[in-house]
């Protein structure tokens, strides 16, 4: 009974994780030595190794790893970079739904070794005989299983507060898929520049807000999304979006009752989550159906934009998000 809100908030976190909101880099450097030693003893067997820096120290990984297992939030970003893991942990059905066909095939070909981050079936994982394990989950989960993962194979661990670009760099380096990364990076830069050039005027004088609802949200609540895709819109594209005060939990962690929908009238433009077909996502439908939503000035004047956010922890989905944002901004009425 008592841990229900935590489970909800945990789900919020899990969703937020994809966004890796806090701008920190991946270089922890404070890992313990035992893991490194374990990795080193094993690396003797591998023909060639190189060292990678991550939150659990400097790890010797195979130059060309063949059997990679991804755990937690590394699953989809690694596949997005063209990687083909032999083992993965479960991702939510909603994430799977928006995965491109090819990536989905890769995901489904891999063995499932755990439900979510902390609950990894270590024996099954060991049975896959991996030569590299890539992990991103909560540090308390790492405290539980980290040593055992390191006993199975060289393990690279990133905490949840790893910024997504640095995370993509690190995964690409550890998993030896750097080529795909540089292509994606170039495309990302180009897209951002294009949006800024096309809508610079609108962006300058307009206040935006991004609202959302997850399937974990309590009935009758929504939240202001300041992490995830909207963080990219704010920090990379330069939209004027609300942001939590320094040192506070992101706004997205606070469930707001539907009454607060009326407060959104102070923003010029509202963005909300839609699926690939442009329909409001299932959890968000109750918001759209409220009369308060329909009465919002932004909504009634065509300034509520549905934006498709297939993921925000690697370049592939982010590029698809930027495409969606691009076409959404194009529908904005000219005058304010």
């Amino acid at each position: 009974m008592s841990n229900t809100p935590l489970m909800r908030r945990g789900a919020a976190l899990a969703a937020a994780l994809m966004s890796a909101s806090l701008a920190l880099t991946a270089c922890g450097g404070d890992g313990d030595d035992t893991g490194v030693k374990a990795a080193e003893t094993r690396s003797v067997k591998a023909a060639e190794t190189r060292s990678v820096k991550a939150e659990n120290g400097t790890i010797e990984v195979p130059v060309d790893p063949q059997r990679i297992v991804t755990i937690g939030n590394t699953n989809l970003p690694f596949i997005d970079l063209g990687g083909e893991p032999v083992g993965v942990t479960e991702v939510s059905a909603s994430d799977l739904d928006v995965l491109p066909e090819g990536q989905r095939t890769v995901y489904e070909a891999a063995e499932i070794v755990g439900s979510s981050g902390g609950e990894v079936d270590l024996e099954k994982l060991a049975g896959l005989k991996p030569d590299l394990i890539l992990v991103q989950f909560h540090s308390s989960d790492w405290d539980k299983v980290g040593k055992r993962l390191e006993a199975i194979a060289p393990t690279v661990f990133w905490g949840l507060d790893t910024e997504w670009k640095a995370f993509a760099d690190a995964i690409a380096e550890a998993g030896n898929v750097a080529d795909a990364l540089s292509r994606q990076k170039a495309e990302f830069k180009e897209k951002v520049a294009k949006i800024q050039a096309a809508y610079g005027k609108i962006i300058d004088g307009t206040s935006f807000v991004d609202v959302s609802r997850g399937d974990w949200s309590d009935p009758g609540t929504f939240y202001i999304a300041d992490i995830g895709c909207s963080e990219i819109a704010r920090d990379d594209v330069g939209l004027d979006l609300p942001e939590a005060a320094e040192g506070k939990d992101p706004l997205a962690y606070e469930s707001l009752p539907f009454e607060q929908i009326g407060e959104l009238s102070k923003y010029d433009v509202i963005t909300y989550p839609v699926d690939a077909e442009g329909q409001p996502t299932e959890p968000f439908v109750p918001v759209v159906e409220t009369n308060t939503w329909k009465a919002l000035p932004a909504v009634s004047s065509g300034r509520a934009l549905g934006v498709f956010c297939p993921g925000n922890n690697s370049y592939g989905p982010v590029i698809r998000y930027l495409d969606s944002l691009d076409s959404a901004l194009a529908t904005l009425p000219a005058e304010k």
Binding site: P219, G220, P257, F258, Q260, G262, A295, L296
Partner: protein, 347 residues
């Protein structure tokens, strides 16, 4: 296992207030309830002027604040009223039925039964609509009520100790089983999260309306058996001597109880302690007269629920605390105080 010696005070053995004072009290309770209903519409996480609230209710227009009142505050207030009535009456019924001053649909595991039944329906049978939930909630509540009554009863009558124990056991087992079901099948349960929470937020009135007829039936049944229940409080044999049909009375009371407790859970999820506290207050005011206790419980329970809900809205603004959490916080100490009283109040 030490038994609590439960003194049964029949009607008239206590210095109970006269009918006029009881009626006066009832009016006061009604006024309090109305005031709280108004407050529940007035107070919320956004500040909306009373004049706008008035207009929203009586001169509706497309103003955005008016929608907030009509679409959110009003439905949750109605849900609070309906659920409160059901909780209060079901508490009064179960206490009188079991002759157990500490009985409560929550403590006796009835809520847990309803929750488990719904979880099983969603997880194993794939039920997805609110109507479906309702029937499973009724079924779960009924089975647990019968089970707990059976476990806690002997030929000499029921034993409060064994009954509470049985309720705690059944509740714990079903709670564990429900948790296991949820852990093994997480995706299926996102849609029905409020089953764990005990909250009256975000229930569309379409969930509330279909349950009202059942509540109406339960209400009629409850008052129909209130006389016989009075007699039963003196013991089965005395009741039989007074011409009460014991089995029929019990069966009807159980049906009413099941409809109320199951329906309340179907709307709000498990909310504990309201059904425990309110009948005590009622009994304290009117003495051991079931009909009056029922009437008072019907008015006092929604008041308690609404106060708790309003508190939950304001203490963490703009976020909210589910009402079940607030009632547990208030109800826990009340339970302790009750059990520490020299004589657990008779029925």
């Amino acid at each position: 296992m030490t038994a609590l010696a439960l003194r049964q005070d029949g009607p008239g053995t206590e210095t109970a207030p006269g009918p006029r004072r009881r009626l006066f009290g009832l009016v006061v309770a009604l006024v309090v309830l109305v005031v709280l209903l108004v407050l529940s519409v007035m107070i919320g996480s956004t500040a909306i002027a009373p004049s706008v609230v008035w207009d929203a209710l009586f001169h509706s227009s497309a103003d955005i604040d008016q929608f907030a009142i009509r679409d959110f505050r009003l439905p949750r207030t109605i849900a609070g009223l309906v659920v409160g009535v059901a909780l209060g009456l079901s508490g009064a019924l179960i206490q009188s039925l079991t002759r157990n001053p500490l009985a409560d649909p929550g403590v006796l595991g009835v809520h847990a039964g309803a929750s488990f039944a719904v979880t099983a329906a969603v997880g194993l049978l794939g039920v997805r609509d609110a109507q479906g939930y309702m029937w499973f909630a009724f079924g779960g509540a009924l089975i647990v009520t019968l089970l707990v009554l059976a476990l806690g009863s002997t030929r000499q009558g029921s034993s409060p100790v064994v009954m509470v124990l049985a309720g705690v056991c059944v509740g714990a087992v079903l709670g564990g089983a429900r948790e296991a079901l949820q852990l093994t099948n997480p995706d299926a349960f996102d849609a029905m999260r409020y089953w764990n929470a005990g909250s009256i937020v975000g229930r569309p009135l379409e969930v509330v309306w279909p349950i009202l007829p059942y509540f109406a039936v339960a209400l009629i049944l409850a008052f129909a058996v209130s006389g016989p229940l009075n007699a039963l409080a003196l013991g089965d044999e005395l009741a039989v001597a007074q011409g009460v049909r014991v089995v029929r009375t019990r069966v009807l009371a159980v049906i009413a109880l099941t409809l109320l407790a199951g329906g309340a859970t179907a709307i709000a999820g498990p909310i504990g302690f309201v059904g425990l506290m309110v009948p005590h207050v009622a009994r304290w005011i009117v003495g051991p007269h079931q009909r009056w206790i029922f009437a008072y419980s019907i008015l006092l329970a929604p008041s308690l629920l609404l106060v708790s809900d309003i508190l939950g809205r304001v203490v963490m603004r703009p976020a909210e605390i589910p009402v079940g959490v607030v009632t547990a916080f208030v109800g826990g100490p009340v339970l302790v105080a009750l059990v520490r009283r020299k004589k657990a109040s008779g029925l």
